[in-house]
Symmetry: D2
Subunit: 358 residues, 4 copies
């Protein structure tokens, strides 16, 4: 099975390169009858778009999406949904000069090692523009989830050592860092500005939460919900760590503390009094909030001189100029949401298969 598809029954395939004609995706397996308008998708793409603020790359593209198939009279038909964004601001000039050099931290060398050559224009297929297809497909997934009462929110939790201390959900989309703590957001923005001036880049952590997830989602023993989320998140460029619930902190916890007691909630349903587990037990959702954190490395493109080699192995110095983000965090937010939405939509559907006579 080739590697450009994600999901089992709700299946996204993305395609396209940074400087080719366009980027896009096909969603196959979306149930028929889901109301879907181009504005639903455009809204998410606008959130992902670069050129939005001083913490992001100045590449200017409208990223206007078109629906090519699968929708009739405003509803999905059960046929595959193809979405496309044509590239309009692709400038390959700055890449031509370094096309034979391997940018440190980038995929140049490994793509050559794998395929024998590569589309070097703007990173080609390994460009972050590929995530347009993810966000577009994730927008469809979100609509399907909304029908089931599931909502997803992501935000910048931490930039270097600056970590949000307050969680004000309304604040997230108000500041350009997408941080739920206005005060910390302001510090983050300063930090990014300073890094940009220092020709450097910054890492951080994004947190994603899903609410209203019904108990029962996840397919043991290999397609457990956390396994699928793990795959989804690690497939995003720049992600080096993923944790759920207490995450790495479980290393320091005892069972007597980490186990979440079960209780009957007021509405008669069963829940837990704490959420160390992060909404998943035994690979299956419990109904509690799903909590995931992603560690994103500092973007590899920096304008400082770096040591590297060319294709022939000759030592060289490289400076990566161009239109690059000093941090991926704000743009990672909608991408992380999209990936979690894709996993949950897929498993919401798969759960329909779990029992006889459903």
């Amino acid at each position: 099975m080739p590697g450009n598809s994600f999901g089992h029954v709700f299946r996204l395939t993305t395609w396209g390169e940074s400087h080719g004609p366009g980027v896009g995706c096909t969603v196959d397996g979306c149930p028929a009858g889901l109301p879907l308008a181009v504005t639903d998708i455009q809204h998410e793409l606008d959130r992902r778009r670069v050129g939005q603020s001083k913490v992001s790359s100045p590449r200017q593209e409208a990223d206007q999406v078109q629906i090519l198939s699968g929708v009739f009279e405003g509803r999905t038909t059960g046929a595959p949904i193809t979405l496309v964004v044509f590239n309009t601001d692709a400038r390959s000039g700055s890449y031509e000069a370094i096309k034979d050099l391997y940018r440190p931290g980038h995929a140049d060398y490994t793509w050559d090692a794998k395929y024998g050559f590569r589309d070097w224009r703007g990173g080609g297929r390994s460009s972050a523009r590929e995530t347009i297809g993810r966000v577009a497909g994730g927008a469809v997934a979100k609509l399907l989830l909304a029908q089931a009462g599931v909502s997803i929110v992501a935000y910048t939790l931490q930039l270097e050592d600056l970590r949000a201390r307050v969680f004000d959900e309304d604040e997230i989309e108000r500041n350009i860092m997408r941080c739920p703590d206005a005060e910390v957001a302001a510090q983050m923005i300063e930090r990014v500005d300073a890094a940009r001036r220092a020709l450097d880049s910054l890492g951080g952590i994004v947190e994603v939460r899903a609410r209203g997830v019904p108990p029962g989602l996840g397919e043991p023993v290999f397609d457990k919900l956390q396994a699928e989320i793990g795959k989804a998140m690690f497939s995003i460029p720049a992600i080096k760590g993923v944790e759920m619930g207490e995450g790495f902190a479980v290393a320091g916890l005892r069972g007597s503390v980490n186990n979440d007691p079960f209780v009957r909630r007021a509405d008669g349903s069963i829940g837990t009094t704490s959420n160390h587990h992060g909404g998943i037990l035994g690979g299956i959702s419990t109904g509690e909030e799903i909590v995931v954190r992603l560690a994103a490395k500092p973007p590899a493109s920096i304008a400082q001189p770096q040591q590297t080699v060319d294709r022939a192995g000759n030592a060289a110095t490289i400076e990566v100029h161009g239109r690059h983000d000093p941090t991926v965090l704000p743009r990672l937010v909608p991408i992380a949401e999209a990936m979690l939405a894709l996993v949950l939509a897929d498993h919401l559907l798969r759960q329909r298969l779990a029992r006889v006579q459903v």
Copy 2:
């Protein structure tokens, strides 16, 4: 696609329950001509087996594996390889008493929520005995990898705050914690003993490394090597966090530090002077060592009284007696190796498909 298979072209399916007739697996897609003996598999199962030491559960089973298919005159034939271990020491008695109670931190509630009922004997399908199939299948994957010069090693890196400071690979299998630091291993063993006496359990971190991985493995953009490893590791029971290379530490690193410079090595190949990236860039192996860390939660089974509910939602107190590990770390070591082996074997084969005229 049901959830009990892992891998794309080298594909493992596990089956079986803790207290059913047996547990096992089928490996489909193993190339023909691989020398395979039952002892190769038994060796790995013996490493996984419980009842090995005072830090593990006292359940006593030989876990003798049989090869039911796919091998002829000592070599794989290209047909599916089925491996089975019959259960011989299954005692359901201690489970019967609590079969209607939801053990905190366990999959009881979620399996009921998903399937409507469950095999409650010893955790049924969600038992750690399921990992026998993984370790058996992983043993086949290891043989395939060995032919390509790839080796894998895992070990206990950390128990609570006790973290190995020395890496002595020969030490790993010498102590019952499988910790590469003999001195810290001794402290860990003491800590486990104390926790057992306190009827409690402990979390920690296992590290896994793969060496000799050729550059080029991994299938962008969704089956990137780190995404597949992430899925593999998160599918292991008790894992709450996974990181590669610098992992979560990238949040605090600048691009100028985190980027690994490329160099030509003495043998003419291309490598990096440091390995912050952990052997994978852009979803594809670089040839540097692959480094993965897993955070394992403290085992959920503890003999202390805990608050919970029964199937009907009535409040109850539960004490989970039986034969349980106070820490999963030493037994997690061969399982983590198996999962990494499965991912790499699969991608070693998939890489054969990357170019025309290979």
Copy 3:
């Protein structure tokens, strides 16, 4: 994806060789809660078993099936169901003599060409004993279908030029040819006897029907119901042709004749007044009876001298002695039923995914 699995969400994997320890299968994706007893499966295996009559091979095996996983207290749990039949009457002697010769019409040469060598004992993996796994898995599928009111029946329609003229369903299991026309069945038996004495073998046609199939099953555009049935049937050893509804006869029909008019049935549902289409239109079931015919070649194993070559390409003469069927038709009947059941069970489940808010 390796080749030993069939189905998408209700997924069968078979394994095992003719003269290895055993043959079996794993069914993954069977919904939880389906009543399943070993006798349900044994019943179908008994129908498939050889040594039943003078028209079949005299190999004597009880083919006793065991359930190794996935069933608890008489019901499926949602976990994979593994079924095994241990081989008890495997005699490799007659094969050793011809292990370097390529039997005409058999898979010896092609398996060598593919894998470099093969398990030559009794055909190894290409033996008809592999179909035990299909029939066992198909028995589970039949139970699932029965819950939805779907039933399947197959029978011998034609042996050489002898074609059933009467359809008496009760007659099918009464005669050893499994032909619904008692008179023609008697002629067929005579014909088989004569062929056996002439050291020859015979081809024919089996017909399979499914009733009670709800409209809506099938997944355009590649997993259309007829495409999935086509694959299923052509995967059975010896099948060289498959047709549905009018089949090849459509070549001679005009649209004005072949189109089936729609009508409202007495119960208010929509149906057609004729069934040239064989229960499928546009890749999706109509609710009319599904009708499929399979052309089976004469078994390749005949005791007459035949020209062939050995592995080195040297010319040789071969006589294939052993325990072989002069016709596969009666044993093909339960296999064809099993394969149709597997397709329909898979698509019955997939149909649950077709619409929002089902």
Copy 4:
């Protein structure tokens, strides 16, 4: 897994509707380094195009294909290849009048039964325009096969009772029936003309052959080469029967006749002296010519009055006017070639996985 993808490692996904913005496909898994030009694809699309002759529908579209991704400097990159044809001559008018009626022989009723509603404009997703994506993807497959010395040719073998008696390969593309027998082709054209005047349509048989297929392709036991071909062919609209080699004629053959003797060929390779088996034994290619025949029903769209019902089940009379083919045979030729090419390209790649140390 949703139903709009075909193939395992060389994987085609088609999308688009007859009267939507366009139709197209994505090919994922094409190896890097294959020379690919838009003209390679356009050539095949031109062969498929309607409006070519008096035996085909007069819908006039250039069907100009664009490559949106996966090609760089004239070669495939290993990234997914997306191909699109925008619809330019879509007239929905004639469909609006009959949008609530179920056309006999069409997919209207079954799509409603499956999805609850349908895009009724020109058949929507069930339109023959969907096959544009197949032919475009098949063109890529053909290029890959050509590198391995594999060629494919299809032609009209039979229209009603008119069957080609001569095989002149050069003749095929010379006459509008694509029949290799010029004399019979002339008779066929007359027959089609008469049927059109009679407001009726005609069935027939197309034959497809593949030459130069290396021995060893095919993945037992479910992805046997004939099973995959069977699925591919039955997924084409209008196909009701598929046979290989002797096909249904095997019903009348004895083993002593049907078995093809093996011989060593002049070049030292192993072959058979006859080809009753049609190039596949045991599910794996033998190296002999692969021979497949498809029975195509008479097109369902005829302008005669037919009895049917509307969505509510009310009896109605329908006449299907519009731009329809009285026979699909000439246009089926490139589609059948494309589907066989897709199967063979997929299995050519899969064969790379069959052995250790390839």
